[in-house]
């Protein structure tokens, strides 16, 4: 079962097009945290960092004394309708948890990937991070853009650039097993 772990470094380029859903990756280099508020801000006011080949991390960390204390992923689905402009500006990958919808899957096609990082693993993440700076600190700790340097963050490809989506496949299968089409109205 042991698959080789692909080593990647930001900024990302066309090497990500070869990744397949289920591949394990260790990512190093700069990433930028972003949640709901900052997506809205960047959409109207522009992206405050070089977005070519950039990676966005769906995360609202705990930061104290210029140090990342805890920084696991937040639920990516909240950004389903907020992410399209990022890919148009050269962003190549998103990191988050729980997967994203078919809109994002189509936006990623031929251009980028969605990486899943294990929810709740904030201490592990922080142990592989160095804080490099911040944009929009007025949005508060959870919503600001934190510039973070990663040292081999262990990820899995959730949605690849060919439209393969592990989350969708797993969920469709679960629906069938439950018999959702017959049962969902019962309760």
């Amino acid at each position: 079962m042991t698959k080789t772990v692909v080593q990647l470094h930001t900024p990302l380029g066309d090497e990500i097009l070869a990744l397949r859903a289920g591949d394990r990756v260790e990512l190093s280099g700069l990433v930028y945290t972003a949640r709901d508020e900052v997506h809205l801000r960047m959409k109207s006011k522009g992206i405050p960092f070089d977005s070519e080949g950039a990676v966005i991390y769906h995360c609202g960390p705990v930061v104290k004394d210029d140090r990342i204390v805890a920084a696991g992923p937040t639920t990516s689905a909240r950004m389903n309708n907020l992410s399209g402009f990022l890919f148009d500006k050269g962003v190549r990958a998103l990191i988050g948890k729980g997967g994203m919808d078919s809109t994002v899957k189509e936006q990623l096609r031929g251009r980028g990937v969605y990486f899943a990082f294990t929810g709740g693993c904030a201490a592990l993440a922080a142990s592989r991070m160095t804080l490099k700076g911040v944009h929009f600190p007025d949005l508060g700790m959870a919503e600001a853009v934190w510039i973070i340097e990663l040292d081999r963050l262990p990820l899995v490809v959730g949605i690849d650039a060919q439209g393969n989506d592990i989350f969708e496949a797993v969920w469709e299968n679960a629906r069938k097993i439950f018999g959702a089409d017959q049962k969902m109205e019962c309760v």
């Binding site: 705990v62 204390v69 294990t118 904030a122 922080a126 508060g140 262990p154 797993v170 959702a180 309760v187």
Partner: protein
């Protein structure tokens, strides 16, 4: 007796609450760690195995560095057990609030508590009705803190079944997990409340999460097996364990009612109990 001064009581309870909150967000209970290890060792899906590697490392790093397991350090849900000699008063509530404020600074915790409508963040994890405090009588003066993260809380449910729909309890539980998918950070623990009243059944569901998860009744095991057949797996990436355990708590109810509540808890089933040094 001097040590029965309200100020001394407030300080002792604040201190115990602070410690319980801090311990809860850093150290997982041993039964939860065992359940995760068991799920990891029986997993055959390669992607799921990778998720368990991360979870296992994360638990160790949090313990070693004394930092929170998860950046969502939750909202504070607090259970107090009062022996007969402790007077029930506002002082207890103030003490618990002090303890949460202190834990927010010292741990540190992410300030998560906001006004529901203005969304103004208090900055210290307290607010109207928060911490949520539940009091029960007992032999010893104990404080239990259950920090509850939003990902799992947001997919929790209550259903008012009819008395004739007892066989649908299982569907309610499994369907809750199906709708939730990967969002609550599975493998989850499900607290299931059955009976009581509309409000009471949800409290039962949450209290069920405090029970040891290394044992299940035949009914709980049946519910757990049904949830696991969904194959949602860790983080919704697929795998054999979707629920580490299902725990049920019941209360008597109206002859015309069958309330059922499912409180979903992420794999980090965090809670800690401290005896108040008094």
């Amino acid at each position: 007796m001097q040590r029965r001064e309200p100020e001394a009581l407030r300080e002792a309870l604040a201190k115990a609450t602070c410690r319980a909150m801090r311990d809860a967000v850093i150290y997982l209970p041993s039964d939860v760690k065992q359940a995760i290890a068991k799920a990891a060792s029986s997993e055959t899906n390669a992607v799921a195995q990778g998720e368990y590697e991360n979870i296992t490392k994360n638990i160790l790093v949090a313990e070693r560095l004394g930092v929170p397991l998860c950046q969502d350090t939750g909202v504070p849900v607090v259970y107090l057990t009062l022996p007969p000699e402790i007077p029930f008063s506002q002082n207890l509530f103030d003490a618990v609030t002090d303890g949460i404020r202190r834990a927010t600074q010292e741990t540190p915790l992410r300030p998560n508590v906001v006004d529901p409508l203005t969304r103004h963040n208090s900055g210290d994890n307290t607010g109207v009705g928060m911490p949520a405090i539940h009091v029960q009588p007992g032999e010893r003066f104990m404080v239990t803190v259950l920090p509850k993260g939003a990902g799992a809380e947001n997919v929790s449910r209550i259903v008012m079944l009819l008395p004739s729909q007892k066989e649908k309890i299982e569907d309610v539980v499994v369907e809750t997990m199906l709708i939730a998918g990967g969002r609550p950070c599975p493998p989850v623990v499900l607290g299931v409340g059955i009976g009581g009243t509309f409000d009471g059944v949800t409290a039962l569901a949450k209290e069920a999460l405090l029970q040891p998860i290394n044992t299940m009744t035949a009914f709980e095991q049946k519910l757990c097996d049904s949830v696991n057949r969904l194959g949602i797996g860790p983080m919704g990436l697929g795998g054999s364990t979707t629920a580490l355990a299902v725990k049920v708590k019941t209360a008597a109810c109206h002859t015309a009612s069958l309330p059922v509540a499912v409180n979903v808890q992420c794999w980090a089933n965090r809670h800690a109990t401290v005896e108040v040094d008094w």
